[in-house]
């Protein structure tokens, strides 16, 4: 899963051991990025 650190804006890969923390600056707030695939939406 790719996240973005909300303080240093760098991309962060999380694994199950590291806990929720940015490895570069130690910030604990990470933002989930929007997936890159094309999303199809119907107009209703």
């Amino acid at each position: 899963m790719s996240y973005k650190c909300s303080r240093c804006k760098r991309d962060v890969e999380l694994d199950e051991y590291g806990g929720v923390r940015c490895p570069y600056c130690g910030h604990r707030v990470l933002l989930k990025e929007r997936s890159r695939d094309v999303k199809e939406v119907g107009v209703n």
């Binding site: 929007r34 094309v38 999303k39 199809e40 939406v41 119907g42 107009v43 209703n44």
Partner: protein, 249 residues
């Protein structure tokens, strides 16, 4: 059995018109109105593929806005049902994405207006999407309504009954629509919708002219008023024929 109707235009522009039809029953007048609203198919965006949307609004909200953008509808016969036309949009902020930014794959299907705002984009926001437009009827979704402000009123005849008493104060008499005065059609906007302005010091009487209706028709830009009315009439013919075949009269 074909019947001719007496049709007279009072105002006529591409997207808005007012015309008088004589010799129709109220039921038929309403049938025409309903056909214009619900039974004339137009093009509208139906599915949207989002490649990038970093704006502040959800994909679904933007998709709905794209769906409501009026698109020009190709002439009859140019287009079969289930055909799709793809329109793409790619706007990088800071800017406002307008309907005019939609690029169509078909010259016949274009945004009817260039200046419908879709969304405001701030720095580093971007909207990139592809939209598929299809042909459908207004009865299925309001985005497919070609006629957006369609209505009719009875034609009213004005008759001067007599003079007012010398010291009697004239009361305003408000009418809206079109009045017939000695066979001449006068839109009420010409005298500020008040008969007292047109006939000062006179006593007038108003009465509905039977079987005469003044239609006021406005389209969303999908096609001209002429086109809308003829297609509505055609749709009534189609359904009447279908009914006739079904019951085998």
């Amino acid at each position: 059995m074909a019947t001719d109707y007496d049709v007279e235009f009072v105002e006529r522009e591409d997207r808005e018109a007012r015309f008088l039809v004589r010799g129709v029953t109220p039921a038929f007048a309403n049938g025409i109105r309903r056909a214009m609203v619900a039974d004339v198919p137009t093009m509208a965006v139906d599915t949207v593929r989002f490649i990038e949307n970093s704006s502040v609004m959800f994909d679904e909200q933007i998709a709905l806005r794209l769906g409501l953008v009026p698109l020009t509808t190709p002439p009859e016969g140019e287009f079969v049902e289930d055909d799709t036309v793809t329109l793409s949009i790619d706007v990088q902020g800071p800017a406002t994405a307008y309907s005019g930014d939609l690029v169509s794959s078909d010259d016949l299907v274009q945004p009817a207006d260039e200046n419908v705002p879709i969304i405001q984009l701030k720095d580093d926001q971007r909207l990139e999407a592809e939209a598929d437009a299809i042909m459908n009827h207004g009865k299925n979704h309001a985005k497919h309504q070609g006629g957006v402000a369609v209505g009719y009123r009875h034609l009213q005849r004005v008759e001067v009954v007599g003079d007012l008493d010398e010291f009697e104060e004239q009361e305003s008499q408000i009418v809206r629509g079109v009045v017939e005065d000695d066979g001449e059609l006068v839109p009420t906007s010409e005298f500020d919708h008040d008969l007292a302005n047109r006939y000062p010091g006179k006593e007038v009487r108003l009465e509905d002219v039977p079987e005469a209706f003044v239609f006021h028709v406005e389209t969303d830009g999908s096609f001209t008023v002429d086109e809308l009315v003829t297609r509505a009439a055609d749709s009534i013919i189609d359904r009447a024929t279908e009914l006739e075949d079904a019951v085998q009269l």
